[in-house]
Structures are given as C-alpha cells and as structure tokens.
C-alpha cells in the first residue's frame, strides 16, 4: 500500500513541477514588460531598468524560475502589477468564494447522481430507467452557464426567491452567503450529475454481469442486496475516476458561472487581470487551479486504494 501511495505522490509532484514550468514558460514568452506596465508609459528607461533589477527580472531564466517556484511554495506569489498588493491577498479573498462553490457543486452532483445511477441500474430497461436516463441524456447536453441563466430567470426574476447574483461575503453570516452560492452550485452540479449518473449506471451494469455477482446470488442474497453489497463498491472505481475529472471541469465551470452570477471569485479576478494585463495574477490563479486539479487526482488515486484491495497488495 505504501509503495502505491508513494508512487502516486511522486507522480503528482513531478506533474506539478512540470506544470509550473509550463506556466512559467508561457508567461516568459509573453510580450510586454511588467516593469514598464507598473510604472506607466511616462517613466524613464532608467527607472524601468531599476525596477527590473529590483523585481529580479534581469536574472538568468533558471534563477528566475527557481525564485518564482520557491515563492509559490511559501505562498509568496509576488505583487500584482496593477494593484501593487501581494497576489496572495487578492487570491485569498477570491478563493473563499470559488472553492466553497466548487465543493458544494461536487457534493450536490454526487448526492444526486449515485442514487439515480443505482436506481436505474436496478431497473435496467424498465420505465423508471428510461425516464431517468432520458433526463440524464438531456442534462449532459445542457451548457451550465445557459442553465444558470434559466435558473436566474426562473427563481430570481420570476419567483424572486433568491438574489440574481452578487455575494454578500462570509462576514454577512453563513446562511446569506450560502444562499447566494446555491443557485450557481445547482447550475454547475446538475449537468455534472447527469454525466455521473450515466457513468454510475453503466459501471453498475457492467459489474452486475460479473461472475462474482452470480456467486453472491447463488448464496441466496436477493438482487437488491447483491446490488448494494457487492456491485456498488466495485462500480465505485470508474465513478471515482469520473469524479476526479469532474473536479477539473467544475473548477473551470466555476470561472464561467461566476460571471453569470457576478460572484467575486477567482474567475472574475482572472478575467479582470487579463484585460489589465496583470499577468502575475493570471499566472498565479492558473497555477493554483492546476495544483488543485493535481491534488484532487492524487486524492482519487488514494481512494482507489481504499476501495480496491488489489492496489494495496499485501507482501
């Protein structure tokens, strides 16, 4: 078990390092001089040069990478070119919106999808299955930001149950904050739930055709009991894989959905930064999200080992 986990950990670390190199390289080839950008176009060449030295921009490439990567490790992302505040502060303010949103959406999607998948697999080919999978088929096709618009129209404009957008901040209390994240989370979660339910169903059906299911039936367990006790755990492996992939999609989706609901999250930050050419912020946010995706995939790898004893391997 330790060997497997260690191997996955090392792979994740390598991926993270490679990803940081990619991000760094992309930002390196970008046109534009951050020092010039910070000082404005009226600054003299000397002033710019001085700032460049101060920011370490004249150091050799490798040193600059190491300096930057070292900074990331100690959560020092540098200073925003436009706001002249530490990037970490900017990001910190926004993470507390984006991360809860992604997590609520992930939880919601799982809670909806797994029971639907089990329900459908248990009634394969019957009316309930057909209806559920028809709905899932439709759900997969719906773009989440369009769904978000429809939700706003329905619940905020028409029924006036929730705010159409904006975020009061966690300072305003847990419930108002969560309430303003609810609609965005539903918009994010439902299309993902549709995908997950389909995966769960087909994984279960695949497993239900295995020989060991027949062995369990020959023991005298009724079909339902076999489904829950024997099939579900085996079907979790493909479901976990998809769950890991979905987290990446959810993060990306968060960036888009925030724009629909005017939520002050990472997505809004990154788009502002792009228009203002505040590249160090773009760089930091991208790096942060990439790290999150890698971390979640590592978590998925670990959970495989929990579900599947073959990965743990004694001796």
């Amino acid at each position: 078990m330790a060997t497997y986990l260690l191997k996955r950990l090392i792979i994740a670390a390598i991926t993270l390092v490679l990803a940081s190199m990619v991000v760094f390289a992309v930002m390196e080839i970008l046109p534009g001089d951050p020092a010039r950008l910070m000082l404005g176009f009226n600054a003299s060449a000397d002033q710019v040069e001085q700032l460049r030295n101060q920011m370490g921009l004249n150091a050799p490439l490798v040193l600059r990478y190491l300096h930057w990567a070292g900074g990331l490790l100690s959560l020092d992302f540098g200073r925003s070119y436009t706001y002249s505040v530490p990037v970490i502060d900017l990001v910190g303010e926004r993470v507390v919106v984006s991360l809860p949103l992604a997590l609520i959406a992930l939880a919601l999607s799982t809670v909806i999808a797994i029971p639907v998948g089990v329900f459908s697999a248990g009634r394969q080919g019957r009316a309930g299955d057909t209806v559920a999978m028809g709905a899932a088929q439709l759900g997969v096709a719906v773009p989440n930001f369009w769904f978000a618009l429809m939700l706003i129209y329905l619940f905020a404009v028409w029924l006036r149950l929730v705010p159409a957008g904006g975020f009061p901040g966690w300072g305003a209390g847990i419930w108002p904050a969560v309430k303003s994240l609810l609609l965005p989370a539903v918009a994010l979660a439902l299309p993902q739930a549709a995908i997950l339910a389909r995966v769960a169903r087909s994984a279960l059906i695949e497993v239900l055709n295995e020989d060991y299911i027949r062995t369990a039936r020959a023991k005298g367990l009724p079909y339902r009991a076999v489904l829950w006790r024997h099939a579900l755990r085996n079907a979790m492996i493909p479901v976990l894989t998809i769950l890991g992939l979905q987290f990446a999609f959810l993060l990306a989706g968060t960036i888009i959905i925030e724009n629909v609901f005017y939520l002050p999250g990472l997505g809004r930050l990154v788009f502002q930064a792009i228009t203002q050419r505040d590249l160090i912020v773009v760089e930091s946010v991208v790096m942060l999200l990439v790290a999150a995706v890698i971390a979640v995939n590592l978590l998925v790898d670990f959970s495989y080992a929990v579900v599947d004893p073959r990965l743990r391997g004694r001796q």
Binding site: I10, Y212, K219, L221, A225, N234, V307, P309, R310
Partner: protein, 540 residues
Amino acid sequence: MSLLQIENLSLVIGGTPILKQVELAIAPGEVVGLVGESGSGKSMTALTIMSLLPHLAQARGRVTFDGIDLLAASEDQMCALRGDDIGMVFQEPMTALNPVKTIGEQVAEGIRWHTRAGRAEAEDRARKMLDRVGLPEAKFPLSRYPHELSGGQRQRVVIAIACALKPKLLIADEPTTALDVVLQAQILDLLRDLVSENRMGLLLISHDLAVVTEMADRLTILRGGEVMEAGDTARTLSAQHHPYTRELALASMHVPARPKKHLAGSARPLLEVEGLSRDYPGRRKSLFRAAEPIRAVDDVSLTIEPAQSVALVGRSGCGKSTLARMILALDKSTAGSIRFRGETITGKSEAELKPARRDMQVVFQDPYGSFDPREKVEKLVAEPLHLLETQPSKAERRELVAHALHEVGLGPRDMDKYPHEFSGGQRQRLSIARAIITRPKLVVADEPVSALDVSIRAQILDLFAELNQKLGIAYLFITHDLTVARAMSDEVLVMHEGKIVERGRTADVLDSPRSEAAQALVAAAPDLHRAIARRMQEQG
C-alpha cells in the same frame, strides 16, 4: 424418494430452444454426472435448478426439489433455498469471488443471511469451513482477499461458500475445467469427501467423460439440449448402447494412427535449445529496492529432430508457454541460446529472423482469438507469406491459400469468408492452414486442442498426425493433457517450475515416470479406461 426430480424440462431463450424434455433425478447422497459437449445445455440445466436464468428464458416442465416445485417458486422462496439447501460451484475460480471483499466476509455472508447468526458466530463457522476445504488459518486468515490466492485456492473458497450451510444438493458446473490436472484431482477429492460427509446430493457437470466416470454413480449424457442416454455410469459406458455414447467414449480415447518413427540419430537436430532462461520483473516490495526477478524458465536445454513430434507437458504456470514463445522468437530470453537449423536465432533482429520464421510457425489454443475478426480467410491464412523472399502475385497467393486450405480439409470457397462463419474446429483447421502455408520444418502448437470438444479434438489430432507424416513437419506440442501427449508425440518433456525434469520416449515416461513431478501428473490425469475398469470392479 428423489432429492431432485427434473421431469420433461424444456427451456426456450428468446425463441431459441435450449433444452428439450430433459429428465434427471438425484437421490440424497448420490453423485450424478451431467455430460455433454459445448452448447448441449448442461449449464442451463443447472441455472434452471437455481432459478438464475437470463431474463428472456422460459422454462416448462417440472423441477421438484425436496417436495418444492422450483419452477413455480417465488423469488423469495428461491432466495431461501439458494445457498442454504442448494449450493453451487462455478467453472471460473479467478472471477467467481468479489475482488473487494475478504474471503472471510464472503464465506460468512451466506451464513449470516440464512441463519441470522451474529458476526462473530458466522465468522467462526466460516473459519471452520475454510479449514475444512484445506485453507488453514495460519496461511489463510479470514482477512485474505481473493487476489492473494491462486486459482485452486479460490476454487476452495467457492466450495466453502457453497457448502457452508451443508446444503442437501450441491451443483458443480465444470468445477475443475479451469485448473490443471493435479489441482483437478485435489478439488475432485475434496468434493467427493464433502459429499459423503454430509450426505449431499451432487450434480457434477462436465465435458470430461473420464472425470465424470471417476466421480459419478450415475450419468446423463446431453446433446443439443436432449438427453441421449442416462443410467448407471459403469454399465452405460461399458455397454455403450447409444451411438452418441460410443462416439463420445471413442473420441475421448482417440489415438491417431501414426507409424512408428525410426529416427536416424546422425541427422543434425532441427532445434537445439541450450541453457535457456527467462526472468520476469517481480513485484516491487519497496520503491527504493529493486524487485527480485521471477524466473519463469530456468536453464532449459532440449533438442528436436526433423519430423519428430515432441510433447511438452507440465502444470499450469510451469513455464511451458514462455518457453514456446522464446523458441518462436516472440519473447526475449534472459540467458542461453536457441539454434534452429544450425543457426543461432537468439538476439537476431526481426529482419534477420525472416528465414527462420518461414520455417517455424505456430498454432494457438483459442480458435476464436487467433484470427483478426475484420479480415477474410484469404488474407489471414496468407499472412505468413509476408516472410517469403519474393512476394507472390495475387493469383499465386490465392493458389497457395487454396492449397493450404485443401490440406486441412477445407474448400477453396472458404477463402472469401470471415472467421466467425466457421465453427471452433474449422477455425483450428484455418489456424493450421496458416501455419503450414510457408512449408515450415517446425510447428509449435500451444494447447491446440484443449478448447475443443472431444469429437472435434479427435479430428484435429488426426489432421496433425497426417501433416506430420505427409509434410515431415516436426512438432513441439505444448499440452497439459497427457492423453493428447500420448496420442501425438514420439517423445515427452516434463516441465516443472521452469525446469525440464524428465525427458524420454512417450510411452516410457507416461507409463513409468521417474521424476516426482511426472509421477504427480500421471497420477492425477483422468483416464477413461482406468476409470471404467475401477467402476466395474467396485460394482462387480
């Protein structure tokens, strides 16, 4: 009174008749064999009793177990019977256990379900049952997972599950087909003991007449869903009244006519293998320590003379197939050398191997897996022609393929068909046609008949014998089946744990084996002659 009584059972699945008026009865404590070739409806009979048929199946007739009409029983009633009064053992031990649950959980589960026993009590009983089937606590604690067990051990777990509640009837569907002969003998012994200890009825389903004869008091012979003959095992098989019974018995013992070879010892050997070894990387125990390699083939030396037929026998996992692949240059060797027609072929590049490959072809076990399903026979059989120095024209190619097909008993019109249009036996003929199209000197055949029904097997063995004689092809016949080795080979090599432990003339080795491994093989191999003789003796 019968424990199980099947009367006039007919089964239709999706419009296709599977069983027709099947009759079968088992008394308490009795062992009944159900014999038939593939597609005869053996397994479906078992699944009908268990009421685990596929959805579209419709069964008619009467199946009575212990006074209960099984065809009319509700699902709840069946759940109460399954695992408690009727246990079942399946063919494929590698997939029959849930990979994510411990063996303890899986054995205890049925006990808890039926007896409402507490966890501790159920585990206690599961422990005793596992001890009984030969999996003692010291080496096989309840916390073991299936992947930590070998095939034979897993089959013992499946038997423990089936027999945990001492059912009145045990159904064993080809319980040893996936195991090698030595394991087969052990599992059959275990089943025999469990049945007599608990006075269980046993329905033993098998394609192997010898196995059934050794085990069953009575047998029923099934063909195409119909009962051909039923009755007392010894009497049925010695009298062989029914033509199909005779056909089966003859095919099971078939020996192709092969004239005795007088080999000129002076000729240079066709194949010389010297000190050949193959290591596979083992499983890593730690990230920082190199894994210890597993030695699959260990210092093997052998020779094959031109036109000689040599059988390589051994238990599963002994390294037979790895050795064959190295000889065929499909796998690299770790050490040692292979000379073919006097030339060293180890370490040669693919281009340098071409002439050797032309003279050395292969026939595999699985008649279904050995052809690309998307190609027509012409292209499939012609594939080795790729090895010729000058590529034949299209017309010449068709001519060559037609000739090869003719030699294996197929017609030129078969050239434009797809492999799925052929039966298993015909596909094996195609496989042989492909192997002989370049007129090789040596054909390596890896279990070429073990996937075939006995009657087909006899025909394919005849074909091999004929080609050996007509074309002077030498064979390396890899088989776990000593009957096949006896029928086909001039010499036998016995392999055990990567080493060749015995070599000699076929009759000598099989009649009086000297090495321990060979003795174990010979003792475990089912033999129809011997089994009938023993039965006759027992019953006078």
